[in-house]
């Protein structure tokens, strides 16, 4: 029952007035970030990260994770009302959400989306609460080889699960690793890949890359379509909310299934976007009114939203316990942890109990606060979206510049941000996935360290990655993930050959 006591202690931390205030501020900022085009969760958290340097780590992560929940909620507003997914994970929500809004049921669609998000998140937090103590038990069995195997699994799952061509995923990922390698080598203390440029001494900071790739790149993509932006109206009242709530329990099967899909996709670092698509696709196949999907079916809103939130929330579990973030936004949060001097990994659950349980408690409270904020303030957030892009775009660009500058107080970083922005635009247009690139920049150093340390221990033999049950299992899972698309293709060929 020690965990229960820890959790209650966590609630006590999260319920301090200062932390509750940060929670509300975080949620509100997050929804705004989710609503505005060009300011995604990862980018928004990256810009605001420097603001939290002066806060205690627990308060800082409460605010930043609330921004993350807020961004998850906000994406649904724009998808349903304007058919513009503010975030990639809300694309699937537009399929049925927007038709519902057009049929005069925006309130129902929004309520369904927000409530499902809440349910998905709650399910994932409960899962985290139950699993977290087990993770702490693992702590002492993790050596460098096991650590590297986990990174290996994380990156292989990207190659196998991504919808982009595998070699483009590999190219993008390896670029991230190469960028991470620039600068001081953490083991030998030798300079490498700097080619005499002093600014590169400390390497490329992933925050700059995130702000450039996701922020500036996104603005450039939007500019391509011109400045035109459509507006819409939103009303939501108590009667509609209650009515929809009465209707929702009848879709419990879809909810439960979507929760499970979401948790699975969040823990294996596939992230919220594939989770939402997968959940939508499966719901379409299994639902009684599946043929009606795409024409404004409420189940078509419930499925992707539940899964996206379950995935987004459960992505924090591998981030905290293994140091492997399940999404770009989780990667930024991980960067924050390192900056605040906390070392993510199994030991975090042993050494920083207050921090971990404070965060877990704030997930319960933050999502509840989020549900209340979005349900009551939809018209205000929709109004923000009607501010023309001609005003929003320069403001976002300035914010990105401020964010990039304040990471290291360096104007060189701001220029670097623009370079990453143009690169992000080109990569995105050519279907190179950006998420593995960013994760590789974040994890590159640690993966390399684990790899080299394991090799040191084994005198250079790769056998160390298959030396015991735990590490072999993770490595084999990684290899299966890496060749997943090839395995799938081979299997379907076999089946057609047999038939």
């Amino acid at each position: 029952m020690e965990e229960l006591a820890n959790l209650f202690h966590g609630f006590a931390v999260a319920l301090q007035p200062y932390n509750i205030m940060l929670m509300i501020i975080g949620i509100t900022l997050g929804v705004i970030i989710g609503v505005l085009p060009g300011l995604g969760g990862a980018n928004g958290v990256a810009i605001l990260l420097p603001l939290t340097f002066s806060m205690p780590p627990t308060s800082a992560i409460i605010m930043l994770s609330c921004i993350y929940w807020g961004a998850l909620f906000g994406g649904a507003i724009t998808s349903i009302l304007f058919n513009i997914p503010g975030e990639p994970w809300s694309v699937a929500t537009t399929f049925d959400g927007y038709p519902m809004a057009q049929q005069g049921k925006p309130g129902e669609a929004l309520t369904a989306a927000f409530t499902s998000s809440f349910v998905g998140a709650l399910f994932a937090v409960i899962m985290i609460t139950l699993v977290a103590p087990l993770v702490a038990g693992f702590a002492l069995r993790f050596g460098p080889a096991e650590k590297f195997a986990v990174y290996f699994l994380a990156f292989c799952s990207f190659v196998g699960l991504s919808k982009e061509p595998p070699f483009k995923t590999i190219a993008a990922m390896m670029m991230g690793f190469a960028l991470a390698a620039v600068g001081l080598d953490s083991i030998t203390g030798q300079l490498r890949l700097t080619f005499g440029v002093t600014e590169l001494l400390n390497g490329f900071d992933f925050l700059i890359a995130v702000i450039g790739l996701f922020g500036i790149g996104e603005i450039l993509l939007t500019m391509e379509e011109g400045l035109a932006f459509r507006g819409g109206n939103a009303t939501i009242n108590l009667r509609v909310v209650l009515q929809t709530w009465c209707e929702l329990p009848s879709y419990w099967m879809t909810s439960l299934r979507s929760c499970l899909i979401g948790c699975w996709m969040g823990v294996t670092p596939a992230g919220a976007t594939p989770a939402s698509f997968m959940s939508y696709g499966i719901a379409k196949r299994l639902a009684r009114r599946g043929n009606n999907f795409g024409k404004g079916e409420i189940e078509g809103v419930i499925a992707p939203e539940t899964a996206a939130h379950a995935a987004g929330t459960s992505a924090l579990l591998p981030m905290l316990s293994l140091g492997v973030p399940g999404s770009p936004t989780a990667a930024v949060l991980l960067g924050g942890l390192l900056i605040w001097g906390l070392q993510p990994g199994p030991m975090l659950f042993v050494e920083q109990k207050e921090f971990v349980w404070g965060l877990i408690a704030s997930m319960y409270l933050g999502n509840l606060a989020g549900l209340i904020v979005v349900l009551t303030c939809v018209p205000i957030f929709a109004a923000i979206l009607r501010v023309p892009f001609g005003i929003i775009a320069p403001l976002i660009l300035v914010l990105c510049a401020i964010g990039a500058y304040s990471v290291h107080n360096s104007t060189f970083d701001v220029m670097l941000m623009l370079v990453f922005g143009v690169l992000g635009y080109l990569l995105k247009k050519c279907n190179y996935p950006l998420a593995p690139l960013v994760l590789a920049i974040v994890l590159g150093d640690k993966a390399e360290e684990a790899f080299r340390q394991s090799l040191l221990g084994s005198q250079g033999s790769l056998g160390v990655f298959f030396s015991n049950g735990l590490v072999s299992t993770i490595m084999v899972l990684g290899l299966v993930a890496l060749f997943w698309s090839a395995i799938q293709e081979g299997y379907s060929r076999l089946r057609t050959a047999a038939a």
Partner: protein
């Protein structure tokens, strides 16, 4: 990802795709070159600094070669973007580059003011009054939030020095 219409022209998607693969491949070569300089074999302290990046660089070159091969085989004739769209994109990139480049000299606040004003007036076509309100309001708000509330210093130029901020 526009279909090829009769009236609009622009660079082909295939060209950009090939260019991108070549660019990334070249980056991979730079990484390999840099790793060789740092040393890729085993030293007294185990694998040397270039050991890991060398294989990363090799993987980049190999993946790019495959991407190049598949881009070349691609037969669709989509446009990367129409010239008009690219002009739109450049109309943001160029002023942003000037904005970023001028920041070390005139400070973040003044350059942001000019940048926002330029963007809203010329790209957005807003009235001077709206433009000036936003262009001045945003940096002032930024100053209050960042410098005063969260104590995060931002780059300042001659104007701030003159104002004694």
């Amino acid at each position: 990802m526009t279909e090829l219409p009769g009236s609009e022209s622009g660079p082909a998607h295939k060209t950009l795709e090939i260019g991108m693969a070549l660019l990334i491949g070249a980056f991979g070569l730079v990484v390999i070159f840099g790793s060789l300089k740092a040393g890729i074999n085993w030293g007294a302290e185990g694998p040397r600094a270039g050991f890991f990046p060398f294989y990363i660089g090799t993987a980049i070159v190999a993946a790019s070669a495959i991407n190049l091969w598949s881009a070349q085989r691609n037969t669709d004739r989509r446009l990367f973007a129409a010239w008009g769209q690219l002009r739109q994109v450049m109309s943001v990139v160029v002023p942003t580059a000037i904005y970023v480049g001028s920041m070390p000299f005139i400070g973040l606040y003044v350059s942001s003011m000019l940048f926002i004003a330029w963007f809203m007036r010329w790209l957005g076509g807003y009235r001077w009054l709206t433009t000036i309100a936003v262009a001045v309001g945003m940096p002032v708000l930024t100053y209050l939030v960042f410098e005063r509330w969260f104590l995060v210093p931002l780059p300042k130029g001659p104007l701030e020095e003159w104002l004694g901020l």
